[in-house]
Amino acid sequence: MAELRLRIQRFNPTTDSKPRFEEFTVQQKEGMTVLDAILQARDYVDHSIGVRFSCRMASCGSCGMKINGHPKLACYTQIRELGTDTVTVQPMDNFPIIRDLATDLAGFFEKHREVIPHIVRSDEQEMDNPAREFVMSPEELESILQFTYCIKCGLCTSSCPTSATDSLYLGPQALAQAYRYTMDVRDEGGQERMKILDEAHGVFNCHYAGTCSAVCPKGVDPALGIQLLKRHVMSAKPPRRKGEGAKLWVGEKK
């Protein structure tokens, strides 16, 4: 197979004044991914290449980066699908660079926490002494299922035009998760979340550019979730749905 010309953006903010590209020649193998190529360069040529990765199977969300200008997961992108022998990798936009291809996601996780990303129940007794399961029908699960697939890779936020300039914007990941939890029939935290979403730099700073959904590797489709969420924010109350709150065990009367 042809040799691959791998261009990696190198930048260490503590020592360099500006980024530069370094080129590495990589021996291509059948089924090689971009991550494989970067690791070959790191393991055999320059051990100082900074790259974050873990599962190698698009499950952990660690290896998000720009590959030939497109935000993608490096482990999930085969060299062959790029259709070229020159591959340029750069860190994801809109996240501070730690070194080379590794970016700082601390702020990103902070924004995720702001939208109360867990099931909120009002009855503490129920939480301490649960008597039964929450029953969630298959239809109710399907209404949120795709949004639960988020692996927090950050590719959506890196491609969002609002996140490109607005450091206070919650971002497509947090907003999609706000939708996921608000629409979950077991959740009673909708009102609290509405307050957060209705602030400046909240849900209305999404202008439906849709790139988040275009780049999401797990099919979460945050743009869809956010547009559906806007309607609920505007109606100033959480969505009505069948079986308000948790349902009791099937057949039992409340």
Partner: protein
């Protein structure tokens, strides 16, 4: 105080794409292009409207006028009624139609009225938020804008 070099270095480390993230839709989806044009046309229209409020005030004699004045209006007409002025009007008509039609699509989308319900997804993932009727509405907006350009062009230059 930070000097320019330090500020630049900080900005590079922060790695925000900046305003080019708003303006550059290359490599991205159709809706992103629509977003760029919606934003740009919005600014263009606002600037035009401000200029238009200025030029129409010459009907009443301009900023210092007191009432309808044929002389003042003739003066303004001599400035705006020419090829360049008419080209600007054609451009404005075009962008106004695009902005409006795309805006209808945005209003319907942001009220969640034109989307299929979320459901179980299968690989390869094709985002519902990027299909649906809203994509056709973007093309409709573009086509109507071209129609507006041709129509206004025929009126002003015909």
């Amino acid at each position: 105080m930070e000097d320019a070099g330090e500020m630049k270095a900080k900005a590079r480390a922060a790695n925000k794409r900046g305003v080019m993230g708003w303006l550059n839709p290359i490599h991205y989806n159709l809706e992103r292009w629509a977003y760029v044009f919606q934003r740009v046309t919005g600014v263009v229209i606002l600037l035009y409207v401000l200029g238009h409020i200025g030029d129409t005030s010459f009907f009443v004699g301009g900023p210092l006028g007191t009432g309808p004045s044929q002389a003042s209006w003739a003066f303004m007409s001599s400035i705006v009624e020419n090829v360049v002025g008419h080209l600007i009007l054609v451009l404005v008509a075009t962008v106004v139609v695009f902005h409006g039609m795309n805006g209808i699509r945005l209003i319907l989308s942001e009220y969640g009225l034109i989307f299929e319900k979320p459901s179980r997804i299968e690989y390869p993932y094709r985002a519902k938020g990027l299909r649906a009727i809203q994509r056709h509405m973007i093309w409709a907006a573009i086509i109507l804008a071209i129609v507006a350009a041709l129509w206004s062009g025929s009126i002003l230059f015909g």
